[in-house]
Amino acid sequence: MKRFIVLSLCFFIYFMFATPPFTYAMHIMEGFLPVKWAVFWWLVFLPFFILGVRSLLRITKEKPELKLLIALAGAFSFVLSALKIPSVTGSSSHPTGVGLGALLFGPMTMTVMGSVVLLFQALLLAHGGLTTLGANAVSMAVVGPMAAYGVYRFGIRITANKRLVVFAAAALSNLATYVVTSFQLALAFPDATGGIIASFFKFAGIFAVTQIPLAITEGLLTVVVWNFLSTYSRDELEQLRSMKGV
């Protein structure tokens, strides 16, 4: 009980400080990708989205009792992407929260969740946009979860410290998202002299330093929820393990 009070107090303080009224945050803004690139990334994104819906339907059909856990993974991404956290560069950005779901259900399921979060932010918050949704979804909802899943799979083979693996997976998935965003911007806006590479480092430079402390924060928060799950919902985790190829 005492632990619970301390925990809620920490959360309270955390949320008090973590949601100051900053204007923009991450993602490519509406209209900031030329038409051909906007279309291109939409086309890249759609097959993944369809696979995501299929994987989601499969899980809910085979194991309806896992719906609650899916909702938890979605909600986690919802909360984390609303938290714009100040960083050492004097600007702020937000975590993505897609890592947790990817570790639990595989990378595809989170494609759907991440897209929903992006749609919400594009429509209501003018954060990201509809034309750039394809590109933003590829970075946050496709590559992010895949990076998390890949790091996790690889990590559990080389170390028994599962928390460390979860932390690394979530943190690196966050970084991967922003590397992809920089790459997308660099492709669309190559530097006049240095070309795509120079442009990439320019954009990556903006995001990278801001993003590193946030990636660490994301990793820590993911481990917190992971700890809860591995204490209280062992059944679900067992069931997930028994499902192959999710």
């Binding site: 632990r3 301390v6 925990l7 920490c10 959360f11 955390y14 949320f15 949601t19 009224p21 900053f22 204007t23 923009y24 991450m26 490519i28 803004m29 509406e30 209209g31 609650l68 856990l69 979605g74 909600a75 986690f76 991404s77 919802f78 909360v79 984390l80 609303a82 938290l83 956290i85 100040p86 050492v88 560069t89 004097g90 600007s91 702020s92 950005s93 919400f120 932010q121 594009a122 209501l124 918050l125 003018a126 946009g129 928390r163 806006f189 190559p190 530097d191 006049a192 954009f203 995001f207 993003q211 402390p213 820590l220 928060l221 917190v224 929820v225 809860f228 919902s233 062992r234 679900e236």
Partner: protein, 94 residues
């Protein structure tokens, strides 16, 4: 489980530290800076669409962001509560 408190504390410190270390900044979003970078690399580029709906002013935007966080946090709290209740009930049976 025991470690959660210290993990949260650490996350809090990482998030709060820049506020004390960096004084003269408004912590604007990094994508705003990316916009500026686009303008320097390609000055002739004009965004070809505007957002359909833009929150009128910072207050409304803050409200919407808080709503987003609140919805998510509510769901997480509920689900963890369900799981916790279930596992403590099972402990009683045993």
């Amino acid at each position: 489980m025991k470690r959660n408190g210290s993990l949260l504390l650490l996350a809090f410190i990482i998030a709060a530290a820049p506020l004390f270390v960096i004084r003269d900044s408004e912590f604007a979003g990094a994508d705003g800076k990316a916009e500026e970078a686009v303008q320097t690399i390609a000055p002739q580029y004009k965004p070809w669409v505007q957002a359909i709906f833009e929150p009128p002013g910072g207050e409304v935007e803050t409200l919407l962001f808080s709503v987003q966080a609140a919805i998510g946090a509510g769901i997480i709290g509920y689900i963890i509560g369900v799981y916790k209740g279930r596992s403590s009930r099972r402990d009683e049976v045993k």
